[in-house]
């Protein structure tokens, strides 16, 4: 598969090309330290600057600043309700589908403002695919599931080949090649999730977002998907939300740990980024006590 020339893609539906702004690494204002010490080593895919998300009045995610790197697997971990999914859904503007959701701060994708006035969310999602917590294949045949994205984007080429290539990339081809016309609902949960990954790959995105992709699966299916992630990493930038710390430790290059601050007066839980670093560092030598408590299982 020819690798995608990411810097030539643009988020606007018009053919406007935007020069990568490539600002210097963001600096954590509170500590004066670089928010991500590893920044600069690799091309930056996403740059978040003070991103906050509100649902109506409730602040769900507060002031997140971080860089997400090209062809890294970045894990977002933290207790449930700390805004991991919310933040993930900002990256491909899935939050636009929730009427009450409001995003503030700046979010750059290869130097282009994801929430810029000329940006088309439909175009954003063509470049930034997503796999959900619960496998959500369409009630169509396996083939049609995979072909949905390429047909949507009007991809050129032999559809049979596109489908086969995507299913092979998702390590599913051998299991389903004889029943491509069968309904996807006849598959096991793990197969369905790999089908959803295949469906996502078929549109040849640049980034794959995964929101707890294994939480509904058994350990064997989980292991297969983790193996798959290692393979996909060669071609794609992956951001994965997981509440499984071992999984984050196994698959990711960088880990961002979030926690929820509870406002006593309103009882609103607000997610904040506590620590973001190379995964080995976060798990072996965390810089923050809250991270340490969480990754050692002493969270309470």
């Amino acid at each position: 598969m020819p690798s995608r020339q990411t810097t030539n893609e643009t988020l606007s539906s018009t053919d406007r090309r935007v020069a990568a702004l490539a600002p210097g690494p963001p600096v954590n204002i509170a500590t004066g330290q670089a928010a991500d010490p590893g920044a600069g080593e690799r091309e930056v895919t996403f740059r978040l600057e003070g991103v906050s998300v509100r649902y109506g009045e409730a602040l769900a995610v507060k002031d997140v600043t971080m860089d997400i790197h090209h062809k890294d697997i970045t894990a977002l971990i933290g207790p449930s309700g700390c805004g991991k999914s919310t933040l993930l859904r900002c990256l491909n503007r899935m939050n636009d589908l929730i009427p009450s959701a409001r995003v503030s701060g700046r979010l750059w994708y290869h130097g282009e403002d994801v929430y810029g006035p000329k940006v088309d969310p439909v175009q954003v999602r063509k470049l930034i695919g997503m796999v959900f917590q619960k496998p959500n294949p369409f009630p169509k045949s396996i083939y049609d599931n995979v072909a949905f994205g390429p047909r949507t984007t009007g991809m050129k080429g032999d559809m049979d080949e596109i489908v086969e290539r995507a299913l092979r990339s998702a390590a599913l081809w051998d299991e389903v090649k004889d029943r491509l016309k069968e309904n996807a609902y006849g598959m096991s949960g793990g197969q369905q999730q790999r089908l959803c990954i295949a469906r996502c790959i078929a549109t040849e995105p640049d980034v794959i977002l995964m929101d707890e992709p294994c939480s509904a699966l058994d350990p064997i299916s989980t292991a297969r998907i983790e193996d798959l992630m290692h393979e996909l990493k060669e071609q794609y930038t992956i951001v994965i939300v997981t509440h499984n710390m071992q999984q984050a430790a196994r698959v990711s290059d960088r880990t961002a740990f979030f926690t929820a601050e509870v406002d006593e007066a309103t009882d609103v839980r607000t997610g904040v980024l506590v620590e973001y670093d190379r995964t080995e560092k976060v798990f072996s030598n965390p810089g923050d006590e809250r991270t340490e408590n969480y990754v050692t299982g002493r969270f309470g």
Binding site: N92, L97, R125, K126, K134, F138, Y185
Partner: protein, 320 residues
């Protein structure tokens, strides 16, 4: 009814009743409720049976007089004439024409309403439109009939003056009016079917870069298709059974078979509704005819409803 249970678990300081596994009260209320619910169930079954029997008895009488072959093959419907003819086709065609025109109106409008309500309308618009549709569902059909007769038919004559209109009645206009009548039913059942498509499917499609139109037409609508078909079938069976509108707007027509929508053609229901008045003598052939037509109508709507039930059931299983 959980009284006995509460006595056992409550009150630390209260004197503790002796623990026992036997019922602590006879629980008569429960038995009374159970018995009356059962009585209601039995009653509804009995009433249905009574309706079927009262339909079937005169129908059997009818077919003693008239051969079922004539009934189903002859094309002249003149049961009350001096030389009567009992070919049911003219009024069956009347009914089918009403259904045809009704569906031509109700399917596009009803489905467009449903798609709009379920996928496009903001919560506020939906909050207004949905109750309005439900109110429309409750408009007395006699009002719709008058609307068709005094407003729709003259309007149709003005818009399409080149058609061979004759007299104040038109089966086509009656069908259109019945279609308007069933729009709320079709749209509300389809809307429910489309809204019960899991949000995850929509998100999955949006996440692949599909726009709203594509999500709606390629994912939501196909996933809801059996519910939508069920809505149309329910609407059809409502159109088959509709009486007042066709009685007023399509009138009593030519006893010969006709497919001209500008004419007044009698439907099965209009025949029954027009005949079943106080001055009809029991035991006469005309009396029995009403019931024969009624039985045929019953068979038609019953098979439509059974089809709808099967479709709805299939629809429920889609996402398992």
């Amino acid at each position: 009814m959980s009284h006995a249970y509460e006595l056992v678990v409550s009150g630390v300081g209260a004197p503790r009743p002796r623990r026992t596994l036997e019922a602590t009260s006879p629980r008569r209320g429960e038995k009374v409720v159970q018995a009356s619910l059962a009585a209601c169930a039995v009653l509804s079954v009995l009433v249905t049976t009574a309706i079927v029997v009262s339909l079937l008895t005169p129908t059997i009488g009818f077919f003693r007089e008239v051969s079922i072959v004539e009934f189903l093959t002859s094309t002249t419907w003149a049961p009350a004439f001096a030389r009567p003819s009992f070919g049911v086709w003219p009024i069956v065609v009347g009914t089918l024409m009403v259904v045809f025109f009704a569906l031509i109106v109700a399917i596009p409008i009803g489905l467009a309403c449903a798609v709009y309500l379920s996928e496009y309308a903001s919560r506020r618009v939906r909050g207004v439109v949905k109750p309005v549709l439900e109110v429309l569902e409750g408009i007395p059909t006699v009002a719709t009939g008058l609307f068709a007769f005094f407003f729709l038919t003259p309007l149709a004559k003005q818009i399409l003056p080149f058609l061979p209109w004759q007299g104040p009645f038109s089966i086509g206009v009656a069908g259109v009016a019945v279609g308007l009548l069933i729009v709320p039913l079709v749209s509300s059942v389809s809307d429910d079917a489309m809204r019960s498509v899991p949000a995850g499917l929509r998100e999955g499609a949006y996440a692949l870069g599909a726009n709203k139109l594509r999500v709606t037409t390629r994912v939501v609508f196909p996933a809801a298709i059996s519910g939508v078909v069920a809505a149309v079938v329910l609407g059809t069976s409502r159109a088959i059974g509709e009486t007042m509108v066709v009685l007023i707007a399509a009138g009593a027509g030519n006893p010969n078979l006709s497919f001209d929508p500008t004419k007044g053609i009698q439907t099965m229901t209009a025949y029954i509704g027009g005949r079943a008045t106080g001055d009809i003598a029991m035991g006469t052939i005309v009396y029995d005819t009403i019931f024969a037509v009624g039985t045929l109508l019953f068979i038609m709507t019953l098979s439509m409803n059974m089809l709808a039930i099967r479709l709805v059931r299939r629809f429920r299983e889609v996402y398992e």
